[in-house]
């Protein structure tokens, strides 16, 4: 051990750790680099995504070829409950604290579908607002009681940094969202 000069030993240690990425054959390298640069319009696109969905992949990416419209899902959520679907749309909001959800806009005014993932599973950058997302997930329908709806709305308001009036939520609420499996983000449709 003493025969190794300290500088040489330190360089070997660093080189060993740096060699790990070199051994990695998966798409994670391009993905990681793109995620670091997330938000920049020049995000790396050299990933192993299918040609149908170019862009920066998150999670398992997108496997389904055909997209379901957000309007269709919101119009008849029970029909899609538990089914894996692919949706597409502009990202109108992103979880600012943890990047654990993003909201996709449908074609009609006010039509939105939240794409939710477990914390840390995928992390969507705040700078992704306005980008185009192709997302795949399982449709979830949650019926909230009045109290739960109030608590949910209060949490949402706090997260968005908005004031909340408890009296503004009295009725039960139905939440339709996509439990995320994977997504691909890109600059344009």
């Amino acid at each position: 051990m003493r025969s190794l000069a300290p500088a040489r030993l330190a360089v070997i240690l660093a080189a060993l750790l740096m060699a790990v990425p070199a051994c990695d054959k998966g798409p994670a390298r391009g993905e990681a680099a793109a995620k670091l640069a997330a938000g920049a319009d020049t995000a790396a696109k050299a990933t192993a995504e299918p040609a149908a969905a170019p862009g920066t992949p998150y999670g398992a990416g997108v496997k389904l070829a055909a997209a379901t419209s957000i309007a269709e899902i919101l119009g008849a959520p029970e029909t899609f409950k538990g089914k894996t679907v692919r949706v597409e749309g502009m990202i109108t909001d992103v979880c600012a604290q943890r990047g654990c959800w993003m909201e996709l806009a449908g074609e009609a005014a006010g039509e939105k579908l939240r794409f939710k993932v477990d914390d840390g599973d995928m992390v969507f950058p705040v700078e992704a607002k306005g980008k185009y997302a192709v997302a795949e997930g399982v449709v979830a329908v949650n019926e909230l009681t009045g109290d739960d709806a109030r608590a949910y709305a209060e949490y949402q308001a706090k997260e968005a940094g908005k004031e909340f009036d408890p009296a503004s939520v009295t009725d039960p609420m139905r939440i339709v969202r996509l439990d995320g499996v994977g997504a691909v983000l890109r600059d344009q449709k």
Partner: protein
């Protein structure tokens, strides 16, 4: 070389090697511990702007109006969304947005910027990178355990585990144990 000598050597060199990441993870730990009070990775700024009366038009025309009125570079515009009959938003690169009230012409211009250093150390600490970084972080976690074990045992006599060391190790154990027993039960 006796084992204590080896432990001292390992502790010294592994400790030095881990200085950068220990500081980075420590800094990030402080930042994300207070997630309820602030955003540790981004800084947001909002300013109110008045656009005056909004001429009727298609969403594309509304977007063009906002871009002209606020003198944005059209190349920086990503698109728009109509949230309701009265709420319209224009998105720009970098997560910037203008939220416009179509009735009054009042708008909020929100900008977002990454916190220098914190954004990067949080991404490392919270493993946003996934992939190979996971293994680097694993190696770092193991190195921290090695540092704890070698640090605890590398001294002998009164300065070691049998002397004052046992009190410090015990005190360090009591803190988390106390929280587990009294808070988590």
């Amino acid at each position: 070389m006796k084992w204590r000598g080896l432990f001292r050597l390992v502790h010294r060199d592994v400790g030095s090697f881990c200085v950068a990441l220990t500081l980075a993870y420590g800094l990030s730990g402080l930042a994300v511990n207070h997630l309820d009070d602030w955003n540790p990775s981004y800084r947001f700024e909002t300013r109110r702007v008045e656009l005056g009366a909004i001429p009727p038009g298609t969403p594309a025309e509304l977007e063009a109006h906002v871009v002209r009125a606020l003198a944005f570079d059209p190349k920086h515009v990503r698109g728009h969304v109509q949230d309701s009959d009265t709420a319209f938003r224009v998105f720009l690169v970098g997560g910037e947005e203008v939220a416009l009230d179509l009735r009054t012409g009042s708008a909020t211009h929100k900008t977002v910027a990454r916190r220098a250093v914190l954004f990067q150390v949080n991404a490392l600490h919270l493993n946003h990178l996934k992939g190979v970084w996971t293994y680097v972080a694993d190696a770092f976690a193991i190195a921290l355990m090695v540092l704890a074990i070698t640090g605890m045992t590398m001294m002998k006599g009164d300065a070691g585990l049998r002397g004052r060391g046992k009190w410090f190790v015990g005190a360090g154990l009591l803190v988390p144990l106390g929280f587990i027993l009294y808070v988590l039960q």
